[in-house]
Amino acid sequence: MRIGIPEALYYHDYYPLWEGFYRALGAEVVTSGPTNKTVINFGVESAVDDTCLPVKVFFGHTRLLAPRVDYLFCPRLVSVEDGAYTCPKILGLPDMVEQGLPNLPPLINTSFDFREGRVRLWAAIREAAKPLTRNPWRVQRAWKTGLSRLRVYRELLTQGKTPEEARQECLAGARLTRRGGSKGTGRSGLCIGILGHSYSIYDRYINHDLTRRVEGFGGKVITIDMVPPEILHQEAVREEKPLFWSAGRKNMAMAKYLVSNHQVDGIIQLASFGCGPDSMVAEVVERRVRRNGRVPFMLLNLDEHSGEAGLVTRLEAFMDMVRRRRVG
């Protein structure tokens, strides 16, 4: 049995969990590979014009993967934490995919809603395992395997590993170890905070290898995944009205954390064209960071047309400014 997982949207947040889960149930897990030109073209062709870049990318990956698998993993992630949703388009994603792409293999489109409590969640997990087994003990064991993989993965990300490195170490059987602090807390080089959805930060094709480029300019990158979730949670609940989008909530908290801890020399906010939450969150973050006035800020809007040269020029100028401020 081959189960396909598109490398888009929440892939970077949960892949080790899903992969661990389905492998433990005896399935072969197939992914669509990193985003490339074909993926983008497929996505632009298949999704409605008005939708956001990330959903187009998801459509592209799904179309690429569909002919190669028996089942397509396309869950409906309604909510991943209490009091928050993901976003409307992710709520409607399986329906959009089903209506928009022809000749799909059967979808595993289980709804996951973490606000509904353990019983419902457990039912959802069993539903997601249905193509493979109905044995609840096997399902439970597999879920635990997945969860422990996810925990190791998150820990590795906190330590500053890239998702690729972390995934490989997970596969190689890395264990949970608390190595003190994230790598290189010393403040010798420039430190740049990158904010945005995981699928904007980690999709190197979409953001034109932003992380690598910042590092090339001598900057060290800090992302949301490198800050312990507890800290972000504390910042988030202090908000007058905590956001009802999980990713936006984290993004906002991260911005606050970076500004108040004087840890960074600059902040780059990534936003996707057509993303509803981004349009609001990035606006508030930009206004707050600018009002504070201590940290240089740049908003990068990503879309399927964004040219590499434009991005590089802006990044170069931004890094120059950050460096001059540091020296001056």
Binding site: P88, G92, D95, Q99, K241, F244, M280, E283
Partner: protein
């Protein structure tokens, strides 16, 4: 304290009545116009949704008229509306406007919470006064909806559609000024009579088009470039799914009482979109299905550009179209929508519907030829 609130179609009529009857000073923003649009666009995030931008314009223009307090709806998502007020606050603050905010978050079953908010507006208010004000405002909502429904029905059927529109406009003014339930009812009856008595034109039954989509764009003629009037003049009967009263009933009253309304719509949407996706996304799909079942000629789906729930609906509507053999068209509207572009698309859509109807008639006649 001078309270203002954003426009949404005729919403200002009942809301201003309600607030005035609670002995508050009300500043109704000037009707949404080109200037509110450019002010809103200038100061809003580029990819914020269209209603957000028009709200900002309304607020700035209300401030010029002396408003100092904003009454705004809240929400719990996942649609952006629930976070409008917070972002608008940041923007207006940076612009130097010093507003007080009263944000009506859905009261999650606490009627006391709502009461507290009302007391914050006016400390000396009594329960009796509140009930009276609510009744009067609600009566206005009902009258507005009745008049508007009659207008949509008659506009394609009268000789001079502009006459019908003029009668409707006059009734809006009268309803705005009316104080007293008897007076409101009298205006309603009078307007309906007046509309009925307009000279009718003969000819075939008008085409019927269902107008579905996001509530603000559906209700606000400035945002939808008066799409209903345009269609009416083309001889098309607009069958709108959502009226102000329905929206208030399902979003404010039933929600507060934790009841779920509109089950038939959700039931109809089920095979295509079996889930609430925020805003009116699921309703748009459901109403499209219901319209097809009722034998309408087409479905017109309108929404602000980048509206998340309606993009989900837009992706799914082609499937409804295919299964029920009913044409549908989505128009995404924002500050860039050009009148000519919209008119051209509307005309093409209406032509298509008319031709289909003609073909259907021919088919029926062919089938009726005996011995064939």
């Amino acid at each position: 304290m001078k309270v203002t609130f954003p426009h949404m179609g005729n919403l200002h009529i009942p809301v201003a009545t309600l607030l005035r009857d609670l002995s508050l000073e009300v500043v109704v923003p000037p009707p949404t116009n080109q200037r509110s649009l450019s002010l809103g666009v200038r100061h809003s995030p580029e990819s914020a949704c269209f209603p957000f931008k028009l709200n900002i314009g309304n607020f700035i223009e209300a401030h010029e008229k002396g408003a100092d307090t904003i009454l705004m709806a809240g929400g719990v998502g996942p649609c952006r509306l629930g976070y409008y007020a917070q972002v608008q606050k940041e923007i207006l603050r940076d612009l130097g406007y010093d507003f007080e905010y009263i944000i009506l978050e859905p009261p999650r079953g606490h009627i006391g919470e709502l009461w507290e908010k009302i007391r914050r507006l006016n400390g000396g208010v009594t329960v009796k006064q509140v009930i009276g004000a609510l009744r009067l405002a609600w009566e206005k909502v009902l009258a507005l909806d009745a008049v508007e429904k009659a207008l949509h029905h008659l506009r394609p059927r009268v000789v001079f559609p502009d006459q019908a529109t003029a009668v409707y406009r006059r009734s809006l003014e009268a309803l705005d000024k009316a104080s007293g339930i008897a007076r409101i009812r009298a205006i309603k009856v009078h307007t309906l009579d007046e509309l009925e008595s307009l000279p009718r034109r003969g000819g075939p039954k008008p085409l019927r088009v269902a107008l579905v989509g996001e509530i603000y764009t559906v209700l606000e003629p400035f945002a939808n470039l008066s799409i209903e009037e345009r269609l009416g003049k083309m001889g098309v009967e607009v069958c709108r799914a959502l009226f102000l009263g329905d929206w208030i009933r399902s979003n404010l009253l039933l929600d507060a009482l934790r009841l779920k309304g509109g089950m038939d719509v959700k039931e109809a949407a089920k095979p295509y979109l079996n889930r609430f996706v925020g805003g009116e996304g699921q309703e748009s799909v459901g109403y499209a299905v219901l319209s097809a079942r009722r034998g309408y000629d087409g479905v017109l789906h309108i929404a602000p550009f980048t509206c998340m729930p309606e993009i989900v609906a837009e992706s799914i509507l082609p499937a409804v179209s295919r299964d029920y053999n009913i044409p549908s068209m989505t128009l995404m509207l924002d500050e860039h929508s050009a009148e000519t572009g919209i008119i051209t698309r509307l005309e093409a859509f209406v032509d298509l519907l008319a031709r289909r109807r003609g073909q259907r008639k021919e088919m029926e006649q062919l089938e009726r030829i005996p011995g064939d």
